[in-house]
Symmetry: D2
Subunit: 356 residues, 4 copies
């Protein structure tokens, strides 16, 4: 492979990518004069409108600051301390948020082992408790699913609907961690609501940062009664932006005329292409069907350790599976075919070197 | 069986039993005059002495109020919020304490599936995290084991020692939930220290209530430096008894000349006898070797549901295993052979009726 | 004074006193056979009945373990994290509970300076917030009063009623810290309800430990809807006694035929007598009208420091006021005239010595 | 005044202003290619360098997301739950952060009444506790001061130094809420360190959002040992930016060649001019010497209510003082003389109308 044209874009994480130009423009465009702080501004009002257009007239949206904060805030809004949250064992809230749901929201996470990162009513039911065991056992209040999952799989509408029925039937609220909701929507060929609230999600952590914002996410409630008293938690959970117009402007840029889904679709496409190209290499095994912008693959251990520079600084391998290493690659809104070429070249080189 | 001589003692739980007469006497004996509150009294000083005689001169003991409080307090003393605790999936702190370790101590519990309720270094190691994943993954600070386990199994000295080496080697504190530590000691034929701190336990939740007290437990630290700053947590975690002499007197009654281990041994013996007798019944299967005062057995579902009166009011069956029901019976310090006769009679009657 | 007849009862604190004989008897009396744990027993059912007889048919009572725990639990039951509690600056929950209301319940205490430890609607109103300042300012959810106050003063029925109207009119719950509620009732010549719920208190921390129990208090709700979902908090806040019958038996002993109020009345009377006798000494000034079992008085600094043995070990003086020392004395249910003689003798001796 | 030239800049709050053009440019400039997330990027390394240049080689800086989060995070880093924080009663952490220091950090705030928003060692000493009262009284671990204060006053170097000596002498950490630290530095004619760490501040909440950023603040430790274990809290307290380069770039824009202090100085100057002009109006009283960008003044109640459009939407008056209304105005980095003219015109008009 040609080392001269080193791309400065890799596949370590979509958090490694920057912001879409339209997002930067949107920030600059609302940087005009003084407006009320804390969300009482016209741009945030417009966000509310766009959210209702997207998610229905009952929806309520609140701009927030980062992903972990958004999930913890969403959970606090729907469950008091000492209750439990049923989620996949692989859920981000369980393994990647420094026990913030436990320490800040006071909740217990009940993990379920899944084949593909996806909960089903049957799997979730294994963590229901027997009322006879109250008040001793942690009592579920929430089912939390990730769309897409950490394994890159996407819940189909009917799968969400089944979980929503399960949740409603067991007095649980259905929360969705949508850190990559734009990618899921693109994958489903739907809008954001089609990947979430249309099928029964009650509360959505609407992720935007991985999909081209500078910062900023949102909590979206499907119905206003779920948002009651939310103002205090919004501020108290450290997720209320002072200059909220700047979060809203970024979200609006993504929601307006479908930009967010469009650029997520581009990332999904690059990931699909990347998987296809990697699969052609001798020794490479695609570990999970690619449905969004995430590719899991394995190769023998020695070459797997040989292209760290494009991946997370401390984390070339996700983990070892016997004599193979599992690697996760994530395409971003700005990834392109040149990046694929570069990565595949590195992989081929590593494989070749290890054979030599 | 003869319904006339209904025993008022069952095998629902050792929490269902009352207090040993010596404990009541001890309470009455210290109920004399005024003494400083909050542990600055002679009886609590004597508890400190007895604890040092039992656990070594470095030990520090603090009387507490109940079991969940004692565990949460012990955990708070050794791990700040956002850290993680490795324990068996079946651990009481994980499944039976209403998410108090999460909500009050801010800790994440990392459960490990075990064959017999016992952690091993190998099993615990599966929940260690990779420093490369900091600060995102919940970072273990504690290994928590139960002595005996919720499955009635007992850690041997060398098993504790191995976990202690594992803990020390991974910068973890080894905490022991000793809600039934007297029963474990009796089972091992050792003192309390021989079942815990002698082999490397750093912090012990010293349970007494299940073994004949009116109320009252203790947190015991193997070394004084672990107890630094503990006073504030003791009070703040709602576990500081105002009239501490009354907790200390009860603990002293159990510690003094081995009463606690002796009566626990009696409970263990009754449980062993009960298991032996039950095993003779057609259709009954002992599910776990009986090492302390807990008996797990199964029988067909119909008869399993037929003797609720001796068991927990809402909880005759622990759970169903296909067409069998698993039942847990717990002997208490005051259980005797008449109780065994009564229970076995009930079981036989239930089995007979279901065959008729 | 004659040192020969050293009393072993002092006036350091009612927490220094022991348990009433009837309480010890009650514990022994229910120490019979096995009963369901965690409050599902006949003695706790009887407590429920006695509470309804005392506080009305709508009342619900829950036995608890200690005073700080009872207050924190009561507050958690009526206010979610991030809300505020209006109380007197001198309130026990604010100055004497190691920030447990903050750290465990997540509440902010808004203290009000008072002349006598008593809130009034006017004083409490100074800590109301302007809705225009939401969600930034801590938003009151509770008015908390102590009956009697830490200064030994007692709310009259009409004063409670005025605060209840204030609370209701401002969407606040009225909680009462009744650590010495028996003494307040005795002072008012009423029952417990007459000192609390009859006049609009919603939730009462019913204290018993200072008035002759070994341990054990209770949370009492005036109406069942306030107790909704309480079971989880009861356990999760570390205040659910496993062998609840032993708490209930003690409370029942005090509630049954008025024993609790009667012995509190005795303590109040001794305190009144003590104040009268102290006031006769040259240099002594009674600092607060004595309404319950607490006496505040001052004397010159030198003698004030001269009778530490009867007082709290580290705390002879409450604080210094210029060249005088303020001292707090507390009579207990078992205090008598001999104790008064002894204490007054010590005071006289100290005053005399300082003049010599 | 001429209504035609309505300025779109007011004096409601510096949170109402937007971002400085150099900040927007800095965001755009680092929006290039992929870089490691969570602060492992070159721009954040440069922030670290600039911070050391500014605050000394021992300093450690961590980019954060918003003001309340920054304060709560700083406090969590230096004090465990159940400890207390001594601050002015008017401190932002006490009255304007929705009890987040209590609910998230588990701390009790001990407020001190001050004439001008400034703590002194003497004032702070009134909230120290007596070790004899441990573990019951909330035990101070932190002295928290605001630079400038909420009343717009500025601590002089020697005043900070005196508080630092007081803190060190009482085993307390000195934390500074520097939400407007740039304005304080400008007022003192010093750098940021000259307004904080040079004189003994241990931990600084370095505010930037009010002074021209889109979002983003930082926690700055004067010495590395204070930052030990901070990574977990940084993430767990919901304040770790995923795309940290964008926060760092903004802070760097302000730190680089003094831009931040320069634009804060401009705001201070406008505020001074505004106060001077207002003072000339009949009926207007300047309530506090203007040291930074905040002006407090009073005028009769009727006109005080007559120019709400330039102020916070729900909050024209800060509060009423008898027949006068107290008003707070805040100049921003982009405020200018035209804004002053406009505001003074509105005030004059309101005063005139009320006289007519």
């Amino acid at each position: 492979m040609d080392g001269d044209t080193t791309s400065n874009r890799g596949f370590a994480s979509d958090n490694a990518s920057g912001a879409h130009p339209a997002v930067i423009e949107a920030i600059a465009a609302v940087n005009e004069g003084h407006v009320p702080a804390y969300g009482n501004d016209a741009e945030t009002a417009r966000l509310q409108e766009l959210a209702r257009a997207e998610f229905g007239p009952e929806a309520r949206i609140f701009p927030t600051l980062n992903g972990t904060g958004t999930n913890v805030l969403a959970l606090r809004a729907i469950a008091p301390p000492h209750r439990a949250v049923i989620s996949a064992e692989t859920a981000h809230i369980s393994i990647d948020e420094t026990a913030a749901p436990e320490a800040i929201a006071g909740l217990k996470l009940l993990g379920v082992s899944t084949p593909d990162g996806k909960l089903t009513p049957e799997l979730a039911a294994t963590r229901l408790a027997d009322p006879a065991d109250l008040p001793h056992v942690p009592w579920p209040a929430v089912v939390s699913i990730s769309q897409p999952t950490e394994l890159g799989t996407v819940y189909r509408p009917e799968e969400i609907a089944a979980l929503a029925r399960f949740a409603a039937g067991n007095d649980l609220v259905l929360q969705m961690d949508g850190a990559r909701i734009f990618n899921a929507a693109a994958s489903l060929g739907s809008g954001l609501a089609g990947a979430s609230t249309d099928h029964g999600v009650d509360v959505l952590s609407l992720g935007a940062n991985k999909n081209g914002t500078v910062f900023g996410e949102a909590v979206l409630f499907a119905r206003p009664e779920l948002a009651e008293g939310f103002g205090i938690l919004h501020k108290g959970t450290l997720q209320l932006p002072a200059k909220a117009r700047f979060v809203s402007a970024q979200l609006n840029a993504l929601l307006d005329d479908g930009l967010g889904v469009r650029i997520a679709d581009q990332a999904n496409g690059v990931a699909a292409g990347l998987a296809e190209r990697l699969a052609e290499l001798d020794g490479v095994e695609i570990a999970q069907t690619v449905e969004v912008n995430i590719v899991f693959f394995s190769m023998p251990l020695a070459p797997a350790r040989a292209f760290p520079e494009t991946l997370a600084p401390n984390r070339p391998l996700l983990f070892e599976l016997g004599d193979h290493g599992l690697i996760r690659l994530v395409a971003s809104w700005d990834s392109d075919l040149a990046d694929v070429d570069h990565l595949v070249g590195q992989a081929a080189e590593a494989l070749g070197a290890s054979r030599a």
